[in-house]
């Protein structure tokens, strides 16, 4: 039970982390929000925030599994969880982009509240 819980939490963390990383890329940002006339890229502030959250999730996952399973099992588990999370991200973006759309919309909506970031758009992602 403990092993299953650890796997689920670790997998959720890498999955969420890679979804956020993917959203910070213009290709997938467009792929998810495409038909809503959204800008081609997340603004750079949002992209940065997405990446920071992703790094926190992936790093937090490493801390968690090493803490729970010790350095050698933990590090090994983390590396293979990264692959699983990334593959799940690909599957989601390909076949179920709607799952990620609310999150992207939220970030997109937040954008209008911060007009000063607009000029950075070209550099975003």
């Amino acid at each position: 039970m403990r092993d299953l819980a650890l796997f689920l939490v670790g997998f959720a963390a890498t999955y969420a982390g890679f979804v956020l990383l993917a959203l910070a890329m213009s290709r997938h940002w467009r792929g998810v929000l495409g038909r809503e006339g959204a800008p081609a890229t997340p603004r750079s502030g949002a992209a940065l925030a997405l990446r920071a959250m992703a790094v926190a999730l992936l790093g937090g996952c490493l801390w968690l599994v090493v803490h729970a399973d010790g350095p050698s099992f933990g590090a090994t588990l983390w590396v293979v969880l990264l692959t699983l999370g990334a593959l799940a991200t690909v599957a989601t973006l390909t076949w179920r982009p709607a799952w990620v759309r609310p999150l992207a919309r939220m970030l997109h909506g937040a954008r209008t509240d911060v007009p000063q970031a607009r000029e950075l758009d070209e550099h975003g992602a």
Partner: protein
């Protein structure tokens, strides 16, 4: 310059892939099965489907029962969580041990095998099969070719080729970062295949690289002998004794007796603190110079460090402690990553899944090459394509079908049939050979027909297990018989995937749609 470098990498990636892709698929497939080799053994050896032994087994009892005192060599594998029977291997004649690999040159032909139910002490009938540990696992690392370690060398060459493919693949990939997470499933089949190949290759890279590298590192002293030959004057045993602190002593041809093995095991387990005894070896059993070698289980940690303790056979006193020196420990860690002898079910399952992604990576690469070649030949079928396509079909769907045939033969053959284990192996290779023949005779239909065959064979194996042993899925799950339930679920899942693939192939006739995207430069190179 960068362009030319990429072109040459593409050339290497393409041709190594075309020539060795099928073989690499075979090694990855067998390795993936070997992740669950002991669970496959429970499925294929129904008499050993015992609930993990809580009852205390007695090595002394097994020693008496199998006439250990009248043997020339006696070994026991105590029951474990994954293999809940005690396995005793006895040799009545002297075993000649030679060659580089410890235990390698032991001839199994002169050994007796005893399977003992640990809770009752009863001897179980001979399983009459090589099973997962005796067939899939050795196929993975030596192809069952043991003469002069030729099999290990061939697999090693393929492993080097895989490393080359992984590294060249990174350079060949045009937009490794821009296309991260990208799979354009709605595009034409060539594009989808390349995207799949890229996604599996890039995202699975850590696992595929580590598993290939660690596989090579296991046999470092065979593949790269110069280092230890220089340092130890060519003496492998000197090298081995120095790095692993091994102990040996000869027989003195005077009669002797063995003290209590159970007491020695208890003493060893007390010395280790954590971990159980996994292997006990009595050397020169009836000799006054007899000694007992006890290995600790690998279950507790990744490095393969058995912390062997040697006991004097007659007195049961500790003679010697074996330990792995720090530098050897690095190698033992890398090898342990590959062997997964440790107890970690999450990692075991993930290894299995990622092993399958490795198979898919190789298969999609081969399919992409075929697709691009067809485009070059404008849909016609040149002889070279037909040869490679036949080889690919036999290597991919064929080996899966042969695996199912092996399992079906195991459930169809009665236990008393002479040479039962050998017939199972013949079933595997005959069906495999037939798939190649089929692929060349019916090139346009072979993919989907073999997928259908896999679907039927997987379901047949599942039903046959139910009929011959009564262990259907509801019962195995309710009794927590996870090895059998797991293999059954894998069979059904495999069948479902095969049906899905066959239907998908049916929708796009023989996958013959041709990718015409202009930026498809990889196709040009291929």
């Amino acid at each position: 310059m960068a362009g030319r470098f990429r072109e040459s990498m593409l050339w290497v990636h393409t041709w190594v892939g075309v020539v060795l892709g099928g073989f690499l698929f075979f090694i990855f497939w067998m390795g993936t099965l070997a992740v669950f080799d002991q669970e496959i053994d429970r499925w294929m050896m129904p008499m050993t489907r015992l609930s993990p032994a809580q009852a205390h087994y007695s090595a002394d009892e097994a020693w008496r029962q199998t006439w250990g005192a009248a043997s020339k060599d006696w070994q026991i594998y105590p029951p474990t969580e994954r293999t809940p029977v005690a396995i005793v291997e006895v040799a009545r004649e002297e075993i000649r041990r030679e060659g580089l690999l410890p235990g390698q040159a032991e001839s199994n032909a002169i050994k007796e095998f005893h399977y003992i139910d640990p809770s009752t002490g009863a001897q179980l009938p001979d399983p009459g099969t090589l099973g997962g540990q005796g067939f899939f696992f050795p196929l993975h690392w030596n192809l069952l070719i043991t003469t002069n370690d030729a099999g290990i060398w061939i697999v090693g060459a393929a492993g080097m080729a895989m490393l080359l493919l992984i590294v060249s693949g990174v350079f060949v990939h045009r937009q490794i970062f821009a296309n991260f997470f990208t799979l354009r499933a709605h595009k034409k089949s060539g594009r989808v295949l390349l995207d799949l190949h890229n996604v599996l290759g890039v995202l699975g890279l850590p696992f595929h690289f580590v598993i290939t590298f660690s596989g090579l590192a296991i046999w470092f002293y065979l593949y790269f002998p110069a280092a230890w030959q220089m340092a130890y004057g060519g003496s492998h045993s000197a090298f081995y004794e120095e790095t692993r602190a091994r102990f040996r002593r000869p027989a003195i041809e005077a009669p002797g007796e063995i003290a209590s093995l159970d007491a020695m095991i208890a003493k060893a387990e007390e010395t280790w603190g954590a971990g159980k005894a996994e292997f006990v070896h009595v050397w020169h059993p009836a000799d006054a110079n007899a000694f007992v070698e006890i290995y600790r289980s690998y279950a507790t940690d990744i490095p393969l460090d058995p912390r062997v303790i040697y006991f004097d056979g007659a007195t049961g006193e500790i003679l010697h402690y074996d330990f792995v020196r720090p530098i050897a420990k690095v190698q033992r860690f890398i090898a342990g990553l590959h062997f997964i002898r440790f107890r970690h079910w999450t990692l075991r399952w993930i290894y299995f899944v990622l092993g399958l992604t490795g198979c898919a990576l190789i298969a999609t690469g081969a399919l992409f090459w075929l697709e691009s070649r067809r485009k070059l030949h404008a849909g016609g079928s040149s002889p070279s394509i037909r040869v490679v396509e036949g080889l690919t079909i036999g290597a991919v769907t064929g080996v899966v079908l042969a695996t199912a045939a092996f399992l079906i033969a195991n459930r169809v053959l009665p236990l008393h049939v002479e040479n039962r284990a050998r017939i199972e192996v013949w079933a595997f290779f005959l069906v495999w050979a037939a798939t190649f023949l089929h692929a060349w005779l019916r090139p346009s239909r072979a993919w989907s027909e073999q997928c259908w065959a896999i679907a039927v064979a997987g379901a047949t194996a599942f039903v046959l297990n139910w009929i011959t042993t009564g262990d259907h899925l509801v019962r195995t799950v309710s009794e927590a018989n996870w090895p059998v339930a797991g293999v059954d679920c894998a069979l059904l899942t495999g069948s479902a995937v095969a049906i899905w693939t066959a239907l998908a192939l049916g929708r796009s006739p023989a996958g013959r749609r041709i990718d015409r995207e202009p930026h498809e430069s990889a196709a040009r190179g291929a």
